[in-house]
Amino acid sequence: MRARRFALLLRLSLAATLMLAVWVLFVWAASRPAWKALIDLTPQQVNSVDAATEELLQELRSRGAQVEFHLFYPPFQGQAADDLRLQEFRIRDRLRELTRLLLVRYQAIGGEAVAVHAHDFYADAPKTREAAQRFDYKDAESDVLVVAVRLPGKELRFRKLSLPLDLGRIERPNLGDSPLSRAATLPVLKGYKGEEAISSALKSLLVEGIPIAYLLRDVSPDLRLDETGDGYGLFLAALGRTGFEVRQWQPAAQPAVPADAALVLVLEPRRDFSVKVAEALFDYVKRGGRVFLNYSWSALPDWNPEGGRFAELLGFTLSEAPVFHRIPDPLGRTAGRGTDGDPAVAKLQLLVNPLHPTTRRFAQSGRPMEVAAARELRERAGAPASVRREPLLRTGDQGWLAVLGPDGYPSFRAPAVGLRAFDVGMAFELPVAVDDPAALSAGAPRSGVVVVVSGLFCNNAGMGPFGDVALNICNWMAERRVLLDLKDTGYEAKYLSIKPPQLQRIGLVLFYGVPGLFAALGLLVFWRRRRQ
């Protein structure tokens, strides 16, 4: 009897082991990155990643790369003393959660190539300290995600992303604007752009070498590079984060554009380039160089250059007066003509070229592009035919060139006739004549590109809403198209607002109604059963 029992037990164990092996094999096969699929049923597809990200992760896997994500989430210090602090804690918490979940998706797609390390500041302090030293993480940086990539046989390269600054879109209302309402002064998490930031960082780490952007300041005497007011510090910092190294070009010391320049930046020029500099720039463009020129209008009369020799060579000119546009009238009280007479006519809502790579993504996102202090860009008579011109930004058809008063300030009144659309952004492309086919196949640029945009949009004030346009322009010009066309995240926070009467009703229905219904149904079943 005992032997029989033993035999039965053995049989059961053997069958269980075999079936367990089948189960493990089945799960192993289903877990293979090539065979597993993710189905996203959320309405905003918040759990999905862009096809570009999927391709990127699959490419990394096939290249044998090792991708590491390191999360540095320091513990919240102290208690929230007020609503503002509490809200900041909540936003940080939500950003942490969204990032963690997003990385789960990256891990699922990337398979064995992707590893996520969440560093615990208390439980594993030595390891966290070691990682912090390795990635130059400092406590003051708060919540940080380090994206690191190691290609086979190469050094580990990494980039740091700040959760609140790079991944979140936080709206911080002006504290002085609403003294009556404390709630209205709290910051709100408006969106999450984690995928865009993380995938861009990943892609930038794959680009060999560091592109150098040379900033030409000689013609911009009042240009400020700090991160306050109307300076350009945020733009330059964002360029640094996307992998550029920004240096200054001093034509006095170095007449030609440096040979290692990936592009030349000229921000808010206040006078024309000297002929020498203009020709050096044009020569650079003819050799496949890239120039980004961002003009704006100034109330000082001689601070509005029209392009000079460089514009002549490319075949464009700029208006001296700013472009204004009637303010759209959504209520239709002016029969679609919009209103004028207000300083807000200087703020232009622009139509964006949906086909050009630098503006395509912005056009698809449906966000309105706004610039201030813009001037008209127009083709010069006798423009060279070899230069291809493509409009990038255009106003609506209710625009006009402002008439300047004797004090130099423009009138905000629209003229009675002659309203039309104005171009305020244009791309110029010059084919590079390369006789040696080997040079072309080696990846040499095939055309020189100049992007001219008029109007303020990438200074500190404009970087928040429109910084991606400026970065896209620079990335595209530096031949780093790999960074383009990442969709904006579908996540858009919708906050639930519940009032006390609603809560009361919910409590009544859920706490008394539903269980009561089940109790009544159960009693009914028993009563019927007893009667049968």
């Binding site: 639930l496 229905v509 539903v514």
Partner: protein, 255 residues
Amino acid sequence: MNGAWVTFRKELLSYLVSPIGWVIAVVFYLWRGYDMEFLALRFAVYRLDQELFAPQTYGLGSTFLMVMLVPGVLTMRTFADERRTGSIEMLMTAPVRDGEIVLGKWAAAAVFYALLWLPSVAILHLLEYPPFLDADLAFGPVFAAYLGMFLLSGMLLAFGCFASSLTDNVLLAALLTIIFCFGLLRLPQQIGASLGELGQEYYVRELLDKLDVMRTFSEWFARGLIDTSQVAFYVGGIAFFLFLTTISLSSRRVA
């Protein structure tokens, strides 16, 4: 398959008329009502993202109760009680294959379990209306959560059937299932922590993630994301435990 269908109908009816099913329903919805009211209060105070409401209902204590305790209670009688009362002899001599009996009993328990969950969808739908939350709660993730819940509970119920087939003591059978459920809740994390670097290996990590059923459920299914490898894990798990139950039953017959 006719045997499985007959067994399924008989078992499902017995669940519907047994007091235990109704007691579970009343306790579950009482607790869930309290939980959801508290959750709504949290959303009201902190003005949280409305898309989180439906997923967070699956992280409540009542969900934990349903996942950890109810499978054991529902399946404890499936075979243990038959053996205790002696009716197993009738079952064994009936012209029905062991596999069909197992499948019928498991399917009845799974369908009853799904029926227990079903009103919670109606509750979420009800909350969408203006007198309550007045918000679009997104039913895509709700569907995914129910699929996940069905698969997870299916696996736990299959284990419950297996546990019940091992003993004639219903309480022991329930206890075994509950221990198994709690084991799934705690062990994968502890094993992962003790494995160190090995735990970071892709397939080890995948297996531990899948064994960590509550985390898998709350981070994937409850958020509207279905991973086919997890579906495969649960389907494989159901097949595995039902197979073991059949073997266990056959062994008894031989004994």
